[in-house]
Subunit: 154 residues, 2 copies
DNA sequence: TAAGATTGAAATGTCAATCTTA
DNA sequence: TAAGATTGACATTTCAATCTTA
């Protein structure tokens, strides 16, 4: 039981440090925050990407995603286009400038992942880490968030 | 290389979901956010706890920690006492009400850790996860944050 | 009625400047 | 000068309310 608290602590504190260091280097060398880069990576790899798709991929709220896209758009890195299939939503696309920035930023991103995650671990330890994280993430995002109150099952 | 991005993604998204679900249940059932509970746990387990000690333990800034202690103090859950050993700092202590809240909240906290981290994994997978997270955290917090510019080596 | 999205207010974190004491 | 802490300005996220279209 007490061991689980240590796992939680290492997980959360490492994520904080990892995010902070990558974010600082991306701002310094590329002029883009890590949060924006993550949004751009989802847009780039999702055909016909909607705000909703970004929110799902990043596990954040739709409202927060809408504002993140606002910031990207204001910086000239993406645009919203009419969605011919559903007029409630837009299709989000990277601009040419956005794609260029993405190309240079992912180099820094990958370099930091190598330094902070791969380098300290053996190949097998890295494999175990990846597998375990995939399992718990899948479990947490699949299973009902909680039994808040049986929802409305009629 | 591309595998590292998947590890980063699972790590960050799982942390987001994990934090969000524990936080929501703590607010609902105990009236305390997870961030505040984490601060209280550090105070409770650190003799002569200063603001600086909390910041180190949680891997957040001293400024942010000072504000977090402000909120806890305003809620009557901790107090700042004069530090006889150093008049620049204070000793932070939990109040009686703070200790009582901590006692009930950790039960919920541990229950959520069990549900979201332990349950989906085998005992050996959990062991591997804990070991790997400990390694990367230690590596990231020990090694120089980066070679920002050789610092000032004279 | 529900789904996709937007908006404004509140919470919480970072950063830089400042203050007091070592 | 440096260490511990505080403060205010700013950034980013969640939540709730609202709007438009399926």
């Amino acid at each position: 039981v007490t061991g689980l608290r240590a796992v939680f602590d290492d997980l959360v504190r490492f994520e904080t440090v990892l995010w902070g260091e990558i974010d600082a280097r991306l701002r310094r060398e590329c002029g883009v925050p890590l949060g924006s880069l993550n949004v751009m990576m989802v847009i780039d790899s999702t055909p016909g990407c909607r705000v909703y798709d970004i929110a799902q991929a990043l596990a954040i709220t739709v409202g927060g995603t809408s504002q993140a896209v606002d910031r990207l758009e204001a910086a000239g890195r993406c645009v919203r286009r009419a969605n011919p299939a559903d007029r409630r939503s837009s299709i989000v696309k990277l601009t040419v400038a956005g794609k260029a920035l993405l190309g240079t930023a992912v180099v820094v991103f990958d370099d930091e992942l190598d330094r902070l995650i791969r380098a300290p671990l053996s190949a097998t330890a890295l494999g175990h880490l990846g597998a375990a994280l995939h399992t718990v993430r899948h479990s947490a995002t699949t299973a009902a968030p909680q039994d808040v109150e049986q929802a409305h099952l009629e």
